[in-house]
Symmetry: C2
Subunit: 326 residues, 2 copies
DNA sequence: GATTGTATTTTTGTGGTAGAAAATACGTCA
DNA sequence: TGACGTATTTTCTACCACAAAAATACAATC
C-alpha cells in the first residue's frame, strides 16, 4: 500500500457522558438558526416564534427549542416564561459562530488535509479509513457521503471510493475558473434578478471594511468567506435555482481547496473593490454593466492564479496540450 | 396526512434463492461495461482484457469476470479457455441493454411517479416510505440517497426528507431551460473543445434516423435518450469537467421528469435536425457558429415548452392544476 | 387563535454478528 | 511478462435490539 503512515488522531464514536449525539445536531441547528436570524432585520426585544424556525428548517419543535435554548445560554437570545424567545441586547454585537467540533467534521477535515497533501491515495475503502483514523464505520460512511455530495469523492461500483481531481490540480482550477466565468456574469441577466436589500447592505459593509485593510495583516479566512458570500449572493439573486446551486457548488469546492491554493493577499483586497463596484452597478440597476464587471473580475482572478499565465505556455496552447490526456 | 391512498406494490428486500444481491450489481456492471465497449471501435474477435475494465470502473477482477461472463451468456462476448473474453460476432447487431429490474429501481420509479402526481407530500420520512411501499429501511435509505445525489430530495436536519421543486413545476422547467441556455452554448467556446470522432459518428447516425421518422410513430423514449446523449456529448467535448458535470445533472433531471413534461413529437424531430446542424458546424471547425446554433436550438425548445407561451391559464394556476391528475 | 410548555409516541442511530460479495494472493498458461 | 483461473482473505450488507432523538399530542397561557 503506497499510503504513508500519517497523523492518527482517534476519532471516536463512543458516547461520552458529556456529549451524546444530541449536542452535535443541536449545535448545528443552532448555528443555522443564528445565520438565518442574522439575515433578517431584527432588533433586541423582537420575538422569535418557534414555528418560523420549524418551517424554515423542516424539523419539529423539539430540536428547535433545544437550539434556541443553546443560543439563550450564549446570551444571543432571551427567554421569557410562557412567552418564548426574544432577541437579546447582545445579539448584534456578538460575532462568534456556534461552530462545534464534531467527530464528523474532524474526520472530514483530516481526510481532506491528508488527501490534499497526497498522504491518502486516490482510491480508498471505508475499511481503510476506519483503521487509519480509528473512527467508527458509521462516521466514515457519513463523511464519505458528504464528500460525495460535494463532488470530492465518488463511490465506485465495488467497495472503493475514488477521489476526483479536486481544486488542487492546476487543471481543475482552470476548469473551475472558466466554469464560473460562464455562470456568474449570466446571473445578472436572468429575468427576475433581485438582490435582497439587507443582504446587499451587509455585503457592502463587510467588503468596504476588507478593502480598506493592509495586505500584510489581512485575515485571509475572513476575506475568503466574504468573497464566497458575495458570489453566492449574486447566484441567489439570479432567481434561478439551478444557477444558484451551481455557484454554491463551486463555492464549496473553493472553500475546501483554500489550503492548497494561495491567492496573494493584495489580489484579495483588489477583489473586494471589484465586488463593491459590482454592487454599485446592481444598486444603480445597470445589470448589463454588472455582468461585464463580473466577467472582468473573474478574468482578473484567473490571471492572478499562481502558476497560470506567469509560467511557460500561453493559455490557448496550454489548454490544447492538456486536452490530449485526461 | 394529506397523502392519499395509492399504489402499494410490495418492494421486497428478502433474498430470493434465485437472485441475491450479486445479480443486481453484476447486471449493473455488465450494463456499464457494455456501453463502455460500445463507445470503443471494436471488431468481432478483439480481445477484452479484464484489466482494462478493472481500471475503468475501479473494481476488482472478481466482479468484472462475473459481468463479462454475463455478457457472454447473452452472446455479446465469447470466452476462450485460458485466453479470456473476446468480442462475439453478434456484438454490433444486438441492440438490447442489460437493464435489470432491481428492488431499488422499482422503488425509485414508484417514488418519482407518486411524487410527480402529487400522491406523495413534499416532506416525507423514511419510515413513512417503508410503510407505504412495504420496502425495507435499507432500500429506502439507499434510494433516498440516490435521489439526493440527483438533486430531487434533500435531507433536513431532523428526520424529514424534502422534495425540491423538480422539473414538474413550470417554474423549474423555465429555470432549467435558462440555465442550459447559459451552459451549453458556452461548451463550444471552451479552449480544448474536442468531440470524439466515433462518438460524433454514432450520434450523427442515430439523429439522422430519428430525423427521418414520422411524428406519429416516433419512439419517444428513444428520441429523448438520443437528445440527452447529444447534449451530454457536447458537455464532455467541452474539456471542462465542471461544465460537463453540470450538463449531465440537468440531463438526469430531464430524464426523470419525462413523464410529466410532454414535448410534442414534431418538435422532437425538428430538434434532431438542429442537432445535426450543430454537429456539422463542429465538424467544419466552426465552433462559434455551433454555439450560436445551440443557443437558437435551446431557445426554440424553451418556446415550444407546452403551457409556456401557448396556453391560456397563467403559470401559477396551471402548475396547481397539473398537480391534481396525472 | 396562535404560541408556548410538557408528556407521550414514533422514528432513528448505533453496535454486534452471520453470510454474501469484493479484493487479493498465487499458480498456470500464452 | 502479462493475462487468465482458482483459492483465500478482507470488506461489506442485512438484520436485530436498545438507547437517543425527533415528532406529535395535549394542556396552559398570552
Amino acid at each position: 500500500m503506497p499510503s504513508r503512515p500519517a497523523t492518527r488522531s482517534r476519532i471516536s464514536s463512543r458516547r461520552r457522558a458529556t456529549s451524546p449525539r444530541r449536542a452535535v445536531t443541536q449545535a448545528a441547528l443552532a448555528a443555522r438558526i443564528l445565520t438565518w436570524l442574522r439575515q433578517q432585520d431584527l432588533k433586541p426585544g423582537d420575538h422569535v416564534p418557534e414555528r418560523l424556525a420549524t418551517e424554515e428548517f423542516h424539523v419539529s419543535r423539539t430540536p428547535v427549542r433545544a437550539a434556541l435554548a443553546l443560543l439563550t445560554e450564549q446570551g444571543l437570545l432571551e427567554r421569557h416564561d410562557q412567552r418564548g424567545f426574544f432577541i437579546a441586547d447582545g445579539f448584534a454585537a456578538a460575532r462568534g459562530t456556534v461552530a462545534a467540533e464534531t467527530p464528523d467534521s474532524t474526520l472530514h477535515d483530516a481526510i481532506l488535509r491528508d488527501r490534499f497533501s497526497k498522504r491518502l491515495d486516490a482510491e480508498v475503502t471505508a475499511a481503510h479509513l476506519t483503521r487509519r483514523y480509528r473512527a467508527s464505520r458509521a462516521i466514515v460512511l457519513r463523511v464519505l457521503g458528504r464528500l460525495q455530495k460535494d463532488g470530492i469523492v465518488e463511490r465506485a461500483l465495488g467497495q472503493r471510493w475514488v477521489f476526483l481531481p479536486a481544486l488542487d490540480s492546476l487543471r481543475s482550477q482552470e476548469d473551475s475558473h472558466r466554469f464560473r466565468l460562464i455562470l456568474e456574469p449570466a446571473a445578472f441577466l436572468q429575468p427576475g434578478f433581485a438582490l435582497d436589500a439587507k443582504r446587499a447592505r451587509d455585503l457592502k459593509s463587510a467588503l468596504a471594511e476588507l478593502a480598506g485593510q493592509d495586505a500584510r495583516t489581512l485575515d485571509l479566512k475572513r476575506a475568503l468567506e466574504t468573497d464566497i458570500a458575495f458570489h453566492e449572493a449574486m447566484g441567489d439573486a439570479s432567481n434561478n435555482r439551478f444557477l444558484a446551486e451551481a455557484i454554491r457548488r463551486q463555492s464549496r469546492l473553493r472553500r475546501l481547496a483554500t489550503t492548497s491554493m494561495q491567492v496573494p493577499p493584495a489580489r484579495l483586497i483588489e477583489s473586494c473593490r471589484e465586488h463593491l463596484a459590482i454592487l454599485e452597478a446592481v444598486a444603480a440597476g445597470e445589470l448589463a454593466r454588472a455582468a461585464e464587471l463580473m466577467r472582468e473580475h473573474l478574468a482578473s482572478s484567473l490571471r492572478a492564479r499562481p502558476g497560470f499565465v506567469n509560467r511557460g505556455a500561453p493559455p490557448m496552447l496550454r489548454a490544447t496540450m492538456m486536452g490530449g490526456a485526461r
